[in-house]
């Protein structure tokens, strides 16, 4: 399975949704529009043998117009090839289709991405926080929030170099 043939097939099917392709990165990377992600992943799983979802995570680039991103790593176990899909959404409208119906393993990974970045996965069966406390009202991995607890009173910032 060659990446050039795969790219051609992807372009045939999803020509408007592929925003850019990076063939020089360590893994063949495709940046996709957020509306077409679920369809593309279903196509890759069913037609192209990418039957394994390795990873799903989020990322935040504050200086871009579409700040929040979701990054998928898929793996074709038969041909031993990986592919990385990226999609970006805005902060005011962070909707991405959930791929839980395609890969059951995406359930907790999407919950974790929601917990950290606030990305709303449409169609997820149970999109609530998974790692943080339920009453937390902000999304901690976004770049504007600090690492330390904002409410702590015992540590003096002067001694910790902050």
């Amino acid at each position: 399975m060659e990446y050039s043939i795969l790219l051609q097939e992807l372009k045939n099917k999803f020509e408007n949704s592929i925003l850019s392709v990076d063939e020089t990165a360590d893994i063949f990377t495709v940046i996709v529009a957020s509306e077409a992600v679920k369809e593309m992943i279903t196509f890759l799983k069913e037609q192209q043998n990418f039957i394994f979802l390795t990873d799903l995570c989020g990322i935040h680039y504050p200086e871009q117009e579409k700040e929040l991103g979701v990054i998928y790593h898929l793996h074709n176990l038969v041909a031993n090839k990986r592919i990385r899909l990226k999609t970006f959404v805005t902060k005011v409208n962070p909707q991405v289709d959930s791929i839980v119906s395609v890969f059951s393993g995406a359930n907790w990974m999407e919950r974790e991405t929601f917990d950290f970045y606030g990305i709303d996965f449409v169609g997820h069966p149970n999109l609530i926080r998974i790692l943080n406390v339920e009453y937390m009202d902000y999304f901690p991995m976004r770049k504007e929030y600090p690492l330390e607890d904002a409410t702590r009173s015992d540590k003096d910032d002067r001694f910790f170099g902050r």
Partner: protein, 186 residues
């Protein structure tokens, strides 16, 4: 005789002895019994829990101090050994477990994370369990060696052996528990 030198027994407390009897104060006798038969509750959350498993193993053997019988039920435990990071999500659970323990109860914070939050000065980690429960002994280390855990345990034994009997009924103790928000059901 030489047979007595083959094994050591626990030292007797101070008292007056004569043929046929040994007189000491009640709190010393009770303290002696308590300190050599502490039943720990291993509240192991992370890496320090694995070092505790090594301490309970045959090489370091916490059982020879009388702590052979681990109690996972708080009602039957004397010593709450908190080993590992306590996140903010876990803090109410820890406080609930502490409340369920019957008096007299002691708490040992094993590891840097339990003592002060450790390496993890983050939004999700409780910076020391003494924010939610009163702690008697802190054992530093990341993770502490089994010898250090045993050292902390021996310090607890010192505290247990010297504790006055009416301490748990004193108003200062009640006030301290109230400052943590721990319910006292007396």
């Amino acid at each position: 005789m030489s047979e007595k030198d083959k094994y050591t027994v626990v030292e007797a407390p101070e008292g007056y002895s004569a043929p046929g009897f040994f007189a000491t104060t009640l709190d010393k006798a009770v303290g002696l019994a308590r300190k050599n038969s502490l039943w720990p509750l291993p509240f192991a959350t992370s890496c320090c829990g694995i070092e505790f498993m090594a301490t309970m193993g045959a090489h370091y053997d916490l059982g020879r101090f009388g702590a052979e019988r681990l109690s996972f039920s708080p009602r039957q435990a004397d010593l709450l050994m908190v080993m590992g990071t306590i996140a903010k999500k876990m803090a109410p659970v820890l406080q609930q477990v502490y409340e369920q323990m019957a008096e007299p109860r002691w708490v040992i914070a094993v590891g840097a994370c339990a003592a002060s939050g450790g390496v993890f000065d983050t939004y999700s980690v409780l910076q020391g369990i003494d924010k939610v429960v009163p702690v008697d002994v802190y054992v530093p280390g990341c993770p502490p060696r089994p010898e250090q855990i045993i050292d902390g345990f021996m310090k607890i034994q010192e505290l247990v052996g010297n504790e006055p009997l009416r301490r748990r009924y004193s108003p200062e103790y009640k006030q301290m528990l109230e400052s943590y928000g721990i319910k006292i059901d007396r």
